[in-house]
Symmetry: none
Subunit: 245 residues, 4 copies
DNA sequence: TATGAATGAGTCTTCATTCAT
DNA sequence: CATGAATGAAGACTCATTCAT
């Protein structure tokens, strides 16, 4: 049972394809879609021709990067759908989408129909993502966790907007608080309140505590000190990003 | 055989500068910052050399456009500050910023510190804008209209995020509802609210009625039918964008 | 009454356009259509960008070269039509076409519908040439100078074929004799003929003496030594190409 | 895990060489010498490396194709020389050369000394072809079938020219008529005449009937209906290319 | 050994910037 | 001065050739 990569069988080809894809992902994230292909090639440690062997045009490379990122996201969302309660799944997925979007060369650009760049071939994956969002949304609405008048297009717009917030707000924890504040607006008639260092519901049926680092919705134990992170990895990351006192 | 320009070449120059600036603003808004300089010159009805006479580089032109737009915005915000109640001024200004941001080649890009493009020289104007936002924010907070834990950076991030929402949500009225929903999250212990056809408010001290077309906060008369638009222009625009029955 | 060049009014632009066109014509003739555009630019003494200012693509440049050459040819043919007897005009024009075709990057390629290169935009000029050939042909046929079963397509094919002969046969005078031998096949029931040192005529109504250098049909004086060339220029050129004894 | 090729790798190699050669011949004929080597390899069903194992460069491959085609042609001509009457052999061979030349990537290009492409190594084969043509020509001239003043270089030029005609004249039968008309010019003092649908000598010592499809000179039986084609294959091909009534 | 992946020089084309008219 | 032509440094992309598998 091998992973389908789209490359031939040769190991070097597979490796190079992966390296190019990853280099392109990084380059796009850091410097935007305008980064020269030669730079991507250099970053991947291959020649320009190798990039073209695997992706017939720069456009195709952009699409491949997007498709991969979208694909991973959709898969994660689908897993989430079957494992969590509807409302948790919905908010958790949006937080994940938003939280893993690093720059504009990423998922949210694909959702943004105005972005002049890629799309065409993405249609299939984007459609899958839209479908998933709609499914999650409707389930959450049936669950009473999301206002009924919200539609899928609203969710897409909110997602893109929240990603933008996170990109602009360099303090990551603060950015996540903002995003959660915004998303809480989707909850029905939910008074949004805050206390302590983060925004929190005080009553409302859906407190939805989340990891301060990655935004994953946390399932809290009824006793003991409430968790701030979804696990050790995020705790460590948060620790590292704190100013050394 | 010289061109006779007659009296006062300076007025010519001033007019040309303005035309270039306006053409550049439109071009950036429609096609992004990558639009060729030659196109801008053609749109302005001048030669490429004339653009360079007024702006020593494309970079400088971009900055000038941003600075002008930011300047207008800041001026408008300052006026607003002296004319409206603090909370209204704050929300009204943000809605104005968001609503007049048409594409990425605009104000919000300037606020976005990640955007690779301009910044350097903008610092002064951006600082003024930040200053203004902070002033408006603090006043609104003293007025009790905005949660106290919100900071200026949060406002900037929210603004950029809301602009992104509006860009993605092609149904403009729905986009504005989303933005208002998001901004309502800033109100203290606020039931999330909107008026009109959706997102119904249930109580809450700050219904903040706004123009359904451009989002400007409306000062409602205590009697009579509540206004839906800020003026005739927006009413007409809304009318035009309704499906003909 | 100025010549329409397609360039703007500026003298340097006009000069550059002409230089590029001429450089391209030479380069195509010497090295084929595959010659890099940079080489053409260098040969013309301009930058690559200048070539692109005048011709939006290499394709367009090729077309412009062809169109110019075709245009000159057609104009010459039209003049010929009004000045010479029909049969003389017909053969004279074909000899001119053939004789001025230097390499494949030239007129005959345009006639050759198989040539993958240009055509599209050429259609108009090529159509004019075809029209002219047909007019000349029909007139010559009415004059009794060309077999009636010959059609315009035959003429085109013969023209291309004769040009190929001339290109291959490096001895130019011998090449022209071959061409004339071939064209004489078009004359009705014609003993195939030529004058001078080879291909002797014995009777036949159409001796059609021609310049040994360029193939122009000569109108011979009834007395004196028969002319071998159409003028001093061709005599001189023939002299130069003779091996120095 | 090596590929087991079994007994006699040499036969594999020989077969591959032949396949590459044939694929290259087709590709050159269809798309010109500019066809990428990768396409040839794919068409041959081998890898690019295999092409290079047999031919050290593209240049060498082109030469090999030419040499093979020339070789076949020369062999055919030599056979013809020993089997037919001199004049028939001469015209028949030229018609064969012309008729089997499909595009420029072929024999005639090799004869054309201007063609920038191959030549160097071809010298030997080309020399053999020239030798053959000269032998055939001289024999035909001794036979009284070709004008005495024609030289080998004339024959080469005529051959190339006739191939060009055939290439341009898309109606193949008409093209062959043109070629024959042209070649008839080589016959001594031969009035060239036509009757019916094709060009035919009415007296002249050498009627030289030929296949209307491929141009092969036909040996006619003294009785019965005169043959129009050299065999069933050509008759069928002609039938297929007729417009369905 | 055959395969096809990797390479990188070379080509067309764009566009910010300079400069002749 | 305004104009728009000239410039040339990149960038996307191709393909002959080499080399790892």
């Amino acid at each position: 049972m091998t992973t389908v990569t789209g490359a031939g069988d040769r190991s070097d080809a597979r490796r190079n394809r992966a390296r190019v894809l990853s280099a392109a992902g990084e380059a796009f994230a850091e410097r935007g879609l305008d980064v020269p292909l030669g730079d991507i090639a250099r970053r991947a440690g291959v020649g320009a021709g190798t990039v073209y062997r695997h992706f017939p045009s720069k456009h195709a490379l952009v699409e491949a990067v997007f498709a991969q990122q979208l694909g991973e996201l959709v898969a994660s969302g689908e897993r989430r759908m079957s494992r969590s309660a509807p409302t948790e799944a919905f908010f958790g997925f949006i937080l994940e989408v938003v939280g893993t979007t690093r720059s504009r060369a990423t998922v949210c650009d694909a959702l943004d129909a105005d972005a002049s760049w890629p799309r065409p071939v993405l249609t299939a994956t984007v459609a899958r993502l839209h479908q998933l969002l709609e499914t999650l949304l409707r389930a959450a609405q049936r669950d009473g966790g999301v206002r009924p008048e919200i539609g899928p297009d609203d969710v897409v717009a909110l997602t893109v907007g929240c990603a933008a917030m996170l990109r602009v707000r360099h303090d990551r924890a603060a950015g996540i608080r903002l995003v959660r504040l915004t998303l809480d607006g989707l909850r029905p008639s939910a008074p949004v309140v805050t206390e302590g260092r983060s925004f929190r519901d005080n009553r409302g049926p859906h407190p939805a505590p989340a990891c301060e680092q990655c935004g994953t919705v946390l399932t809290l134990r009824p006793t003991g000190r409430p968790a701030r992170y979804c696990g050790a990895a995020c705790r460590q990351r948060a620790h590292r990003s704190r100013p050394s006192p």
